[in-house]
């Protein structure tokens, strides 16, 4: 059951990458990338139950923070400001 | 006082994250929390007295229950709009007047609005909050201000101001 849910979650991440490749404008690609980052945290959480090791959740927490910083930087670039403002 | 509050907060966060009571871990956490509090206190809250007023925690619990309920409602709303064959959407950006004054309370209100059904907050320009709404159901500013922000504003006022 859990392995099945893990496969579904991975397929959803692949869907998000479809929006990243296909998206008509640059903002669409960034939305896809942001959502992909959140879905990876879900994959990490399910893997943590399957392998019974808690360090995978550390990877998830780090992934949340790094994808947050990445999205903020890209959004600043998109609104046309310098990065030090 | 502010230094101490940030030190305690980051130390508790470290202990919850590592979950280990050995001496080496306590010393490492204390050092990390000390460096954090020395570097980043200037970005912290200005009135830390608010942390030790129990009434605020009570209202926070009430707010948490209402907020969770609104989140679940938001998800069913989005699922209905996405799965419906005709996609009943009528998007637009509307203005909402703000009554909250402090920055942190405004940020919390904007976060809450993002997670409630069909709305996402865009920007704040002096006392006016701009909200993208997926189904603009009325034209009257009074009605939609109450519909979007009114539910949370009174609780957030009691918690953070």
């Amino acid at each position: 059951m859990l392995a099945f849910l893990l496969y579904i979650q991975m397929a959803l991440a692949a869907f998000c990458l479809f929006r990243v490749i296909r998206g008509p404008s640059i903002a669409d690609r960034m939305v896809g990338l942001d959502i992909f980052g959140i879905l990876v945290v879900g994959i990490c959480a399910i893997l943590c139950i399957q392998t019974q090791r808690s360090f995978i959740l550390d990877i998830g927490i780090t992934w949340i923070i790094l994808s947050f910083i990445g999205t903020l930087t890209l959004a600043k670039y998109l609104s046309g400001k310098k990065l030090n403002e | 006082m502010r230094y101490l509050a940030l030190f305690i907060l980051s130390f508790v966060f470290w202990m919850l994250l590592t979950f280990d009571l050995s001496v080496a871990n306590l010393v490492a956490g204390g050092a990390a929390a000390l460096v954090t509090s020395l570097l980043f206190t200037k970005y912290f809250f200005h009135k830390v007295v608010k942390f030790i007023q129990p009434v605020r925690y009570f209202w926070f619990l009430v707010y948490l229950v209402i907020f969770t309920w609104e989140c679940i409602k938001a998800n069913f709303d989005v699922a209905y709009r996405v799965l419906h064959p005709a996609m009943p959407i009528k998007p637009g950006i509307v203005k909402v007047k703000l009554e909250l004054k402090s920055d942190f309370a405004r940020a919390m209100l904007a976060n809450s609005i993002t997670m409630t059904p069909g709305t996402i907050s865009v920007d704040i320009i002096d006392d006016v909050l701009y909200v993208h709404w997926i189904y603009v159901s009325s034209e009257d500013p009074e009605i939609y201000s109450r519909k979007i922000a009114g539910k949370f504003e009174k609780y957030i006022k009691k918690i953070f101001e």
Binding site: L5, S25, L57, T71 | K90, M115, I120
Partner: protein, 105 residues
């Protein structure tokens, strides 16, 4: 058992969010459906993990990740909407109202 139910509900909500991401017409609507559904779905998965482990290190880590995920996802959504508007991306054909246009000028 409880944890499996929570994880299934979370994956289901993630599925709705991704359908919205593929199907809705413009950036702003896509961001709405995707942010709400995927954030609550992932929070539900993390609650399931916390139920499975109980209050040991893995469970507490999962509970800590929930507020972190909430704040980071909502703030990233604000930044993306604002950036997309300032980059001049038009709202879709179905839009009826735009108050923000006067404020930006």
């Amino acid at each position: 058992m409880v944890s499996t139910i929570f994880i299934s509900v979370g994956v289901l909500f993630n599925l709705f969010g991704c359908i919205g991401l593929i199907r809705l017409p413009d950036v702003y609507n896509r961001l709405q459906s995707a942010t709400k559904c995927v954030t609550l779905g992932t929070c539900s998965i993390l609650v399931g993990v916390a139920f499975h482990f109980g209050l040991i290190d893995a469970g507490v880590k999962a509970l800590i990740a929930i507020p972190l995920l909430f704040f980071s996802a909502t703030v990233a959504a604000h930044a993306l909407v604002r950036g997309a508007y300032h980059a001049g991306i038009k709202m879709g054909d179905k839009s009826v109202k735009d108050d923000y246009k006067d404020a930006v000028k």
